[in-house]
């Protein structure tokens, strides 16, 4: 399935309202933080060209969603074809951490990737710049969660101070590209259920 054509990677950013999804995306794409982002209504998107390690240029299509929106309001079509899903929470807000699991589960239902087990999620704990005393979720607790979900990548960031944002998104780009190349995310022909999917993937990865 290797092709020379332009690669477009679709990334969906989810998480409770106010955790800083819009701020993170703007920090990554526009290199700035503004204290005056309005609440996201529905969804919004930005694109960014990224040069990968092998000098390949890919286009990241980053979809920011409204934290309050539940899935049905954007419609199934929105989630289909995603190559990576970013789950953001606010380290100073335990509820936003506790809902991560349902964001993940619901995403899997809506996007229905071929192999949910291996679908790449990246977890981001945002707002680490806020004073330590207000922190509710420790790195350890977050990492335990990521382990329990099959070893999801985890980053702690500050959109405000541009801390670790670049790193998080380059990991996102990498995982999205790997997912795209594995090519097993395709619900367009559901009749085919590749039993030997795992082997296939290994075979393809060369």
């Amino acid at each position: 399935m290797s092709s020379k054509k332009k690669v477009l990677l679709k990334v969906i950013i989810l998480g409770d309202s106010g955790v800083g999804k819009t701020s993170l995306m703007n920090q990554y794409v526009n290199k700035k933080f503004s204290a005056s982002y309005k609440a996201t209504i529905g969804a919004d998107f930005l694109t960014k060209e990224v040069v990968m390690d092998d000098d390949r240029v890919v286009t990241l299509q980053l979809w920011d969603t409204a934290g309050q929106e539940r899935f049905q309001s954007l419609g199934v079509a929105f989630y289909r074809g995603a190559d990576c899903c970013v789950l953001v929470y606010d380290v100073n807000n335990s509820k936003s951490f506790e809902t991560l699991e349902s964001w993940r589960d619901e995403f899997l239902v809506q996007a229905s990737p071929m192999d949910p087990e291996s679908f790449p999620f990246v977890v981001i704990g945002n707002k680490v710049d806020v004073e330590e005393s207000r922190r509710m979720i420790s790195s350890k607790r977050a990492m335990t969660f990521c382990q329990s979900k099959g070893g999801l990548s985890y980053f702690e960031t500050s959109a405000k101070e541009a801390l670790n944002v670049e790193e998080a998104f380059s990991a996102i780009a990498k995982q999205a590209l790997a997912q795209e190349e594995a090519g097993d995310f395709n619900s367009d022909f559901p009749e085919t259920i590749p039993i030997d999917l795992k082997n296939d993937r290994d075979g393809c990865a060369c």
Binding site: S17, I41, G42, Q72, D188
Partner: protein
Amino acid sequence: MRTLDEARKCWPQLDEVTSISQLRKAVSSPDKPRITSGLRSICWKIFLLFNNLDRTSWPTALVDSRTAYDSLRSHFLRAIEHPNEIESAVDPLSEHEESPWVALRKDETLRAEIFQDVERCMPDNMYFRQPSTQNMMLDIIFIFCKLNPDVGYRQGMHEVLAPILWVVERDSINPGSIERGRNTGTASRLLRDVCDLRFMEHDTFTLFRLVMQNAKFFYAPGEGQSGFSQQPQNDTPMLIRSKRIFEEYLPMADPSLAAHLKKVDIVPQIFLMRWIRLLFGREFSFNEVLVMWDIIFAEDSSLELVDFICIAMLLRIRWDLVEADTNTAFTLLLRYPEPDNPPFTFVHDALYLRDNLNPQAGANIIKKYGKKSPPISENESRVTNHARTSIGASNSLVPQPGSLEAILQDAARGVYNRGEKWGIAKAVRDAVGEVKKNVQTLQQSNSGQSTPRSGGREYRKPARPVLKSTQSNSEVLRRISALETRNKGLAKMLEGALSELWECHKEKSDEADVDKASLEALSVAIAKVQFVQVYLEDASIPLPIEEDKGKAPMRVLIPPERTSSAPPTSSPASSRSAAISSPSSKPPRPQRSIGNAPSSKTALPIDIPSLPTTLKSSTSRITAVPTITAPSPSPPSPTISVSPRVRPALAQSAFSWMLGQDERTSTFASASAHTAFPSDEKRRMARGKDSIGGKGYLFGEDDEEGSPIKDGRAKGKGSKAEKEIEEEVIDLGPLGKSAVA
């Protein structure tokens, strides 16, 4: 806030207006100075609350609404403002359902959620940064949510509220600042009362509530939805509306734009959700939005107009959009380019489109702003030829208009899925896109045949059958299911053949020196066969028009241009040219060949009568016409056979002549398009997934067996057909009304 003297300067403008419709005109007028510039909140109150210009009635309306708000406020905010009044006997830590503490905590969570957005609302406007403003907004939204628990708080409501609050605040007058003994005339008293600063919050709430009365459906969850859930859920009204705008209205106004956006996988709700929920609040500058709202409230406080404003916005940038790939298109739609003309012109365009939703009107709107008109009629012959060469027997492939989308969606999805499986997705996708484009342009060119006044409008209108009653349902359903079984069998047989063809195609495409053109031709040819298979597989898809070859045709709906004029033996071309001149002179002879169409295997004969009967008695010329035209060369009998989805509009039916000539036809068609809204909405909601099933196939929407979404669809064709039939009965009301009008 302003002084009474300032306010009084604007008042005389209102004295000149003698009727609501005059005021509406004045508000909509692009001429400056605008009447709303000094009287905006008063105009909004007139259009939304008072609904009249009888000033003596205003104080009562104000007192009523203000008193109502006072009691709502004290009722809902009591616990919040005075938590210590909650009976001390109740344990604050109790988790018991009825505990007032539990309720209080829930309310506090809700308020925190609201406040998070209020804090981020209008970040550049100092007025909205003040805590008193933010608290007022919080209280208003909170009370609204308590009154509307079915919707609750949804992000965006705060940005509907903010402009209202701003407008009311700007106009408000502090009665304390008025010197005693001055300005005690009736007009001054009324002005002071209408704009009383002390009731700013009350009046803002009232206007917000009145706007949200209709706008709340932009926010409402689908039926049976609540929070996170693994259950398949119904589409939200917003999804349904987006689909309607994108798949029904836009193709009427600009079929090729609609086809292009679909082709590049634009999911409409992604941008329409924000456009509509905020009433365009984020798409244009704040002051421009206020002018838009002036006209919206003046012209259509039901807010149905927003759909057409969206169409107008799409048309304004159509040339950019048709060139755009997915990324560029989404960027244009999510960051709408600043228009050269002030945004209120979109509302004017919308008013025009609401009454003229057809490709010609779409082209007019595009031309109006100095852009090239999209090809409609001037390309007719070229487009037709092109279409004919690439889709072969185009005559039989011209689908029945109203159902074009359904056919293409289903067929193309089938083709695409299969193609993907054999690794030739790209070729097939292109081929399908090509077929689709051709059909669309063909259709567009067809529309060019009708006079500008009828503008081809009625021909995109989903056809609606006229059913007498639901008595015959069981018989009908029995026949459907028998036919479906048979068709499915045939479809299976074809499927086998098709997979061989695709294999063959794949082999060919793998060849090194493959001839792209012939490969594409092959794709298209296979796709066509696949269309047939899809038709067979799903009997609810209407069949394409069979050109009358003098033999008993497949009895499917025939568009009015043809039924009205062409002699049975005429070639398609001559029938087309005849259609231009003759409909007025030779109304078709209504003829019910119902239930005697032996070859109409997939069609469903149903009796027509009840609506026409009433029309007959009320319109004298109706009885006269058939007698006069009886001797004329008998046109192909306009047979109406009704499959569950083929719904001939009166305009398209044998009874179209009842509507008089083209002008009336078009009024009818457009009138029914929006008078039917409320029932439309309900019906669509009832249909749930069914109605949206085909969406976004290229995007990769659901199609898998056993997917939770599919379950609803699998409930059996019988009940589906039944639902559809009921729909038609509901629809008769508006249909009949507008036809008579």
